[in-house]
Point group: C2
Chain length 460, copies 2
């Protein structure tokens, strides 16, 4: 029996064929010709439809029909599955039809040539045709799905926190401002005492840097919540670890009263989600790792027990090794990327750093009872990428929050959450693209997101 | 055996208790007191933790411990499950601990009183404590999950299309413009021949109105793709069906060559996703419907076969009934909301309207071969909400696109998709919040999204 699941469009995709077809099966396939070899009697070509990184070979006798096919062309072919001498399935086609020609002479990506990622990125609209970008996109899909599945199984409610906001959660000032493009509209909507450029919303509005405060509001009625939404930073950074628009996975846990419950949740979550991705995207993960670092690699942190250091303990380790750093130790400003990586390597496992000096952290973090100048913050430091997660217990005492010297303006609503039956919560944010870099070893964060936005670049 | 699944925080949530606990089970619960009755010897209160719309009653003998508990307070209670006289499970508590007081005298939502949605919306940060908003949020979560699950099962790749873009897909001009808030940064990044306000990205950048063109680029390498991301409209609309920021579910199907395959995909998808939501969120859906329209209702369109009309056929029906409309028939401008609803009611099922006059539709739609002034567009008209989906086959002939009189500037990349081994695609966009309104009967779209943004309002 022929069991291959068909595309909605009525033909099977190549991943399904390579997984479940049997010699003798008759079928139609569609896709792009990746490379082509014309021998005396037959033409051999590899066909790809975007469903898998595996090559699928099609063989067809030379006829007048086949003179037009070339690399890059989009074609359909029909015929019979056979076992090739190398043990893999191939299609012995009787008919090939060119749907669209590849015009390969003008095409920016020469077949069988490796193009550096910077060059590929210049042709953003065609990147999905490049094998390793297609593999990254499928892997990214699996990672998004794994997070949603895991959080759903634990009964977290997904809240789509808004992109437009009037609260600058981190207070770092690196924000994008938003207003209607039409001056006519702005004038039409003008109201007394409001600057015309703010007339659409009556206030200055910007793009969210974090959904945390909004999640907290929702967790005060719904319990555990999470969001997986775009976040924005108006930084002038050329770093291979930063983007102007990126995805943030944030969760807020209600009735959370100690930091070790939070670190243990994060450790379990990252391990579990990663195992799901490995299970469901093995080929693509391996392929991305090979392209990034020359060969596939294991993730030793999956089996290790992760450790927790206090800020003071972490600082002691850094001081004892200070001659090894290019960057100076600045105990009042946190750790540099180099120092973060050193800590993770030194410990041989991912490291949670907790009990941070309160003046290095935002206003909303809960003070450590036994150390009034410290807050229940956590940074998760991973090999290769450094900080992957930041989190904290949230201050749930209205009066203590109200007297915080760095409480931003216009946060009366945030204080009211505590006033009316507040609940102790804690949560974290994880940079989704940085997590993908950790899994794949991809050096530049611009290559793990479909449409990277960074200083001086917003293509398409 | 005690089988209740516990929260990550180590205590069971009320949904799990009401589903699986048995008399005699001993357990801890946490949540907010929804209302309270003090009798002679005992105190009865309903506890809610955000996990379910069902009431869960706790009984505790009056002691000195219990004098502080009041409506709105966040508490923990421990005791033993018993069967109440009404047949439902209740907790006979031995201990109650107040985590945070409710301060109900200042609280904007008086217990046991119905507040109109406009009033509730003014206290956006506290909305999650209102039963019907909490139910909406859980339902929204289930709807998001159902879409992701369905699309994943069909092997679509989720592409997070970017919020920031330089392409105005619809060309309607109702866009929000974005720039860094810091003038210092803009000056720092200035480059010759680029206006300072555009110096961050070197171009004018705005918020996406649709991810369609970006999905098309991805589908040209990956096959079938979809996105479920925020979209934006800078309209000055008070309509209960419009938001400035909303979620759009868009899909692009590769190798799609006829419009009937696309309409049949959409019909199957909406029916299947809706059945999953009904299955997984029955209580919340029923509750939302009751709150919105007074009683729960069936969705008769789930069992009906949906019909397709050409634009001309639809117009004929409207002309034959024109005396019934308040809005004038304007055949060159499409249908009014009133006329859309009439068509859906007249047919007794949802209606796909196809073969639209090309001058009413965007440049990228494929011309109908037999009718050169018509394009393969579709509008899906539903009862109650009118247009729910818009879609089309995309023009895949580079030359025909190039000569389109309304081709926007700066879309050379879009033409190149066709030039290099193009593939026929088709797709659609579905307004996610409008879909939730269809399911629940909620009148105002502002009540089916956690943080509604609309003219003169961007709270939090």
């Amino acid at each position: 029996m022929f069991l291959i699941r068909r595309f909605c469009s009525g033909f099977p995709h190549i991943k399904a064929i390579t997984n479940t077809a049997k010699p003798g099966d008759r079928l139609d396939v569609r896709g792009w010709i990746k490379n082509i070899r014309r021998l005396k009697k037959n033409i051999f070509f590899d066909l790809n439809d975007g469903s898998t990184v595996r090559r699928f070979q099609v063989v067809i006798p030379k006829t007048t029909d086949t003179k037009d096919i070339s690399v890059g062309s989009n074609i359909s072919a029909s015929g019979c599955i056979q076992l090739a001498p190398n043990g893999q399935l191939e299609l012995h086609a009787e008919h090939v039809k060119v749907i669209a020609d590849g015009h390969i002479t003008d095409y920016p990506f020469t077949p069988r040539q490796q193009h550096p990622p910077e060059y590929v990125r210049e042709h953003l609209h065609l990147r999905a045709r490049v094998d390793y970008i297609a593999a990254q996109m499928r892997l990214r899909h699996r990672a998004l799905k794994a997070i949603h599945d895991y959080m759903d199984e634990l009964h977290f409610v997904q809240i789509t926190t808004s992109v437009l906001t009037t609260n600058d959660c981190e207070g770092a000032g690196e924000i994008f401002r938003v207003q209607p493009d039409s001056d006519v509209l702005l004038k039409e909507m003008a109201r007394p005492n409001i600057p015309t450029e703010h007339s659409y919303f009556d206030k200055k509005v910007f793009l969210s840097v974090s959904g945390q405060l909004h999640l907290e509001a929702m967790s005060h009625g719904l319990g555990n919540t999470y969001t997986l939404t775009p976040a924005f930073r108006a930084e002038n950074s050329k770093s291979p670890l930063h983007l102007s628009e990126f995805y943030m996975f944030e969760a807020e846990l209600a009735f959370m009263q100690d930091i070790s419950s939070l670190t243990s949740f994060i450790e379990k979550m990252i391990k579990n989600v990663t195992l799901r991705i490995i299970e469901s995207a093995r080929d693509d993960l391996k392929f991305c790792q090979e392209k990034a670092l020359g060969s596939a690699f294991e993730l030793p942190w999956l089996k290790a027990a992760w450790i927790t250091l206090t800020y003071d303990e972490a600082l002691d380790i850094l001081i004892a090794n200070k001659e090894k750093f290019k960057t100076a130790l600045k105990p009042n400003e946190g750790f540099s990327k180099e120092q973060e990586l050193f800590l993770a390597n030194h410990c041989g496992t991912p490291v949670f750093v907790v009990d941070w000096p309160s003046d290095q952290k935002p206003f909303y973090m809960k003070v450590v009872q036994t150390k009034p100048d410290r807050v229940h913050a956590l940074d998760l430091l991973m090999p290769e990428v450094g900080e992957l997660c930041g989190g904290s217990l949230r201050e749930n005492d209205e009066m203590r929050l109200r007297s915080h010297p760095r409480l931003p303006q216009d946060l009366e609503w945030y204080l009211e959450l505590r006033k009316f039956g507040g609940v102790p919560t804690g949560g974290f944010g994880l940079g989704f693209e940085r997590y993908l870099q950790l899994l794949t070893g991809v050096k530049n964060i611009r290559d793990v997101i479909p449409f990277p936005r960074y200083p001086h670049s917003c293509q398409m």
